[in-house]
């Protein structure tokens, strides 16, 4: 029997410690940026959210490949959950980025900035993932088409990222500068702790989501076994999970 919640408790505690420590380091330990001033502190939350979101999209694509190779529904669940949570973090990155843009550029959004627009395109692309799943009634087809989408869109993410890096940025700053030095050490420490914390946060939430969905599936199976009514069949974007018995016989 697959259990998704294994190790969730220590993981959650570690997430709180690392993320809490990261925020404290970003606000009180990292020095004030000479050019940006206090508003630079936004980057410690904005950039890790954007990086983890992109990592989640790519991981969703890899899980899609694994699903097509194995047809094991646990990979479909992973792909779905990773993309779902990456989308939430991407929304957070867009909002925090807009807040920074307002304080720095005086505008909430700048349309001629490639980094912003390309990230928005990726975000909107992944916004169609849930409706795509929901529009397909057949669960097997739903999983297969969603996996193909996840792979194609997942491959687009690094390509898009590289294209933007190679393009001449108009005004969006680069956190990891390739020339003229990067972040000072104290800023780097705060940044990497925040990145680790955000990654742990993502893993904890996705693990919780998968454990929750698995528990619901097992509850449904138990209800059927005890002769209870299953309720009306509802169309769902979420993957259908095999129960412990089905998984054992598969």
């Amino acid at each position: 029997m697959v259990t998704y919640g294994k190790g969730l408790r220590p993981l959650a505690i570690l997430t709180v410690l690392v993320l809490g420590g990261g925020i404290a380091l970003a606000l009180f330990y990292a020095p004030m940026d000479a050019d940006q001033g206090f508003r630079q502190k936004i980057f410690y939350i904005h950039v890790p959210m954007a990086i983890v979101a992109m990592g989640g999209f790519i991981a969703g694509g890899i899980a899609g490949i694994m699903y097509l190779r194995t047809e094991d529904s646990k990979w479909d669940l992973r792909s779905y959950t990773w993309i779902h949570h990456a989308l939430i973090l991407a929304l957070g990155a867009l909002i925090t980025g807009s807040i920074w843009a307002k304080t720095s550029w005086g505008h909430w959004w700048v349309w001629d900035e490639p980094t912003l627009v390309s990230f928005l395109i990726v975000f909107l692309l992944y916004c169609t993932y849930q409706p795509l799943r929901f529009s397909i009634e057949d669960r097997e087809k739903q999983s297969r088409y969603a996996a193909v989408f996840a792979i194609t869109a997942g491959a687009f993410v690094p390509l898009n990222f590289m294209a933007v890096r190679m393009a001449q940025s108009l005004s969006h700053p680069r956190v990891f500068a390739t020339s003229n030095g990067g972040l000072p050490l104290k800023m780097q420490i705060a940044f990497y702790v925040m990145l680790a914390g955000m990654t742990l946060f993502f893993i904890t939430l996705t693990k919780f989501e998968m454990a929750s969905k698995n528990t619901r599936a097992q509850m449904g199976a138990l209800r059927r076994r005890l002769g209870g009514e299953d309720g009306p069949a509802r169309r769902s974007a979420a993957p259908a999970l095999p129960t412990a018995t089905e998984a054992g016989t598969a």
């Binding site: 001033g37 807040i99 528990t215 209800r223």
Partner: protein, 57 residues
Amino acid sequence: MTLPSNAGYVAAAYLVFLVLVLIYLAIMAVRLGRLEKQTGELLALAEREDAGGTRDE
């Protein structure tokens, strides 16, 4: 002590993250409530089945 300039915007950015966490917490609370309800129903079903079995004997 005076706050640095743009402190409001920085606070807003960190609040966005806090709001995301709180929304997730609310979703988790709803799910826990649903699971609790379902567990109760399952327990009732199991007890009914037990009572039926005892009556059959």
